[in-house]
């Protein structure tokens, strides 16, 4: 299958007068047509920075991309100018932001906000009435009665607002959708409604998706492949099955799973990861997880680990390299 998106060794730094923040440190992944990739990690892992880099929405003042390439349908997006990017953004790649309360314009009806996206990318030369028809169609698709298109965002509940945001993102039928924590702000029953709807639309439209989340539960319901991100690096990458039930795992992935209270098993104590994420303003010599890792060895602090691969499953850790040698 053809790669729709290929990110190669991407690095993103934020530079200010005082310090440099190493937000993304050499991330590589691919997305094929129709695939959903989950980017999982905690606050500050660099998930959102990666998506902003793909869309070239990083702050021009502070963000630098010292290394890396982002190929979308064979073109390196980093070589494109702002004019060319505008043709891709919202049309071929679009984004759903985390907080539907702030992503919508409060003084514009939702119908106008959806029509705006269609108007700005109107290559087919649709007439105004055709655009209105399309707005109705998109609203029906996300389960909002088209009569409500003359209402303002504050007249909708949180779940409905997120549906509007999804409708705007899907209006131009993009090939790639980046969803940044699309259900984090929603209640669990509403989250289930929205996740099911996104799954259905994806199948219907054949859209590829990057789902950014901190919730392994959400990933397990929606994604085909998973990349676990820690301190700006992918520490584990593979199919859903690889990451959830593969033979070997990165100690950070193990810690993430150990931190979630189980609904089925009876556990008196959780097994959290001790300590905190490393300071992103410091350059690290060895493995970035070393300070919190229960299996840390001397080599971990000296050398950055290379990738241990087993079929589609990749783990960036010294632990398995060693085992391989012993075997």
């Amino acid at each position: 299958m053809e790669n729709l998106l290929e990110v190669k060794n991407l690095q993103v730094h934020y530079e200010t007068d005082k310090e440099t923040v190493y937000a993304v440190n050499g991330v590589s992944f691919t997305i094929q047509n129709g695939e959903t990739l989950g980017l999982v990690g905690e606050t500050g892992a660099g998930k959102t920075t990666i998506s902003l880099a793909i869309l070239q929405l990083l702050s021009e003042r502070t963000a630098r991309i010292p290394k890396g390439e982002i190929y979308f349908k064979g073109k390196n997006l980093l070589d494109l100018g702002e004019k060319e990017m505008q043709l891709i953004r919202g049309e071929e790649i679009s984004m759903i932001f985390q907080d539907p309360m702030t992503a919508l314009n409060p003084i514009m009806t939702i119908g106008k906000q959806i029509a705006e996206a269609l108007r700005l990318h109107n290559h087919q030369g649709l007439s105004l009435s055709e655009i209105e028809e399309k707005v109705d169609e998109v609203l029906k698709m996300v389960g909002i009665p088209p009569e409500r298109k003359t209402e303002y965002p504050h007249q909708f509940s949180g779940g409905m607002k997120q549906r509007v945001v999804i409708a705007i993102a899907l209006a131009c039928e993009p090939q790639l959708l980046i969803a940044d924590e699309p259900t984090t702000a929603l209640d669990v029953t509403i989250q289930a409604q929205v996740l099911l709807m996104m799954k259905r639309l994806r199948q219907q439209l054949g859209t590829s998706m990057i789902l950014i989340t901190h919730d392994l539960g959400v990933v397990s319901k929606v994604c085909d492949n998973v990349a676990v991100i820690y301190a700006g690096e992918i520490v584990e990458y593979g199919t859903l099955r690889d990451v959830f039930s593969g033979k070997v795992h990165h100690p950070y992935t193990v810690g993430l799973f150990g931190s979630i209270p189980s609904l089925t098993a009876k556990t008196r104590r959780l097994q959290p990861i001790e300590g905190l994420m490393p300071d992103p303003t410091k350059e690290v010599q060895g493995c970035r997880f070393a300070d919190r890792c229960p299996h840390v060895r001397e080599i971990c602090r000296r050398e950055s680990p290379s990738i241990f691969a087993e079929g589609s499953h990749q783990v960036k850790c010294h632990l398995f390299r060693e085992e391989e040698k012993h075997a």
Binding site: D187, T189, Q191, A192, S220, F244, P261, S262
Partner: protein, 328 residues
């Protein structure tokens, strides 16, 4: 007889709004056993935080009784209330806005002890604050740090130290881990459970997260629009959820499990929570309930015991005895 530390009897808290009375908490009867944890679970706007705040007297109850150690505290005078605060404390959701940004860690922990005149001398207060920092796992070097210098987990540890500083026996924890990352969340949950074991604390643990509430609670009450719709021991509730709302809630949790068909057979409940202003009589879940009929809205529903210590407010769920009778 179980040793009941806190009991609410038909507790109500209404707020006046322009459109009418908002029934935030509407007739809640709960009992919490000393040394145990009662989990309160529900979605946003179900009144769970208002319930917690009314119990610790941050809100005046509209009606009903709150019995703490057997005495009614709902009608206390200001002075008597203050004494109560050394027995009852609260841990807040957002460790970013619940701490004064201009106070250092030590000042923040000292404050409740000074306000409540817990100790006679300054030395005692300082010694107590140092001990508290140790108990909640804050390093000594952080004593003079300010909240903005700390991460969410450490800030929540300050919130816990402040609550513990006056020596309470009962703590209302209002979504204490919701703002935290999952690995930090696990650290704080472990800390809260260790403190309970060591000090014999009683918790009322308010959360929207069902896996967290199952993990920490002995008993769980499920709230919907100001009312408790189901109440049972933690394991019992998850093994036999009876109320249609509880069933829908549990089914909607995305568990990190890849062999359950990925939600493919899930039928999420339709619609959303309706307005709690001047609610219609009867079951408030009826408009979203797949089993609803006229029997749900013509009568006020009360919790009834349908299995041992398992209470449900739904007219269609029969008690085990009734079931047995019909079988005979």
């Amino acid at each position: 007889m179980p040793d009941i530390i806190l009991e609410t009897q038909n507790l109500k808290k209404y707020f006046k709004t322009r459109r009418g009375m908002l029934h935030a908490v509407d007739g809640v009867n709960l009992r919490i056993e000393r040394g145990k944890t009662l989990g309160i679970v529900g979605e946003s706007g179900c009144g769970k935080s208002t319930l917690g705040r009314t119990i610790v007297h941050l809100y005046e109850p509209t009606a009903g009784k709150i019995l703490f150690n057997g005495t009614d505290i709902s009608q206390l005078k200001k002075k008597e209330q203050k004494r109560l605060h050394t027995d009852m404390q609260m841990i807040f959701q957002d460790p970013f806005s619940s701490l004064n940004p201009r106070m250092s860690v030590q000042e923040l922990i000292l404050e409740p002890m000074l306000v409540n005149d817990i100790y006679d001398t300054r030395e005692q207060v300082y010694a107590a604050s140092a001990k508290l920092m140790d108990i909640v796992g804050l390093a000594k070097r952080l004593a003079s740090a300010y909240p903005h210098e700390l991460d969410g987990g450490r800030r929540q540890r300050i919130g816990i130290a402040r609550a513990l500083s006056v020596g309470p026996t009962f703590i209302v924890c209002d979504e204490p881990v919701s703002a935290l990352d999952v690995s930090i969340q696990a650290q704080i949950l472990n800390l809260l459970m260790d403190l309970q074991d060591e000090m014999g604390l009683t918790y009322m643990f308010i959360t929207h997260d069902l896996s967290v509430v199952k993990h920490i609670s002995n008993e769980i009450a499920v709230m919907y629009m100001g009312q408790v719709v189901e109440k049972a021991a933690s394991d019992e509730l998850f093994a036999h959820p009876l109320h249609p709302y509880t069933q829908a809630l549990i089914a909607a949790i995305p568990t990190p499990d890849i062999d359950d068909g990925g939600f493919s057979d899930l039928e999420p409940i339709k619609g959303e929570v309706v307005s709690p202003v001047n609610p219609a009589p009867g079951c408030r879940f009826a408009v979203r309930c797949p089993y609803a009929s006229s029997g749900c809205t013509d009568q006020e529903l009360t919790l009834k015991e349908v299995r041992q210590k398992h209470y449900v407010a739904c007219p269609y769920i029969e008690t085990e005895e009734e079931n047995d009778n019909t079988k005979v």
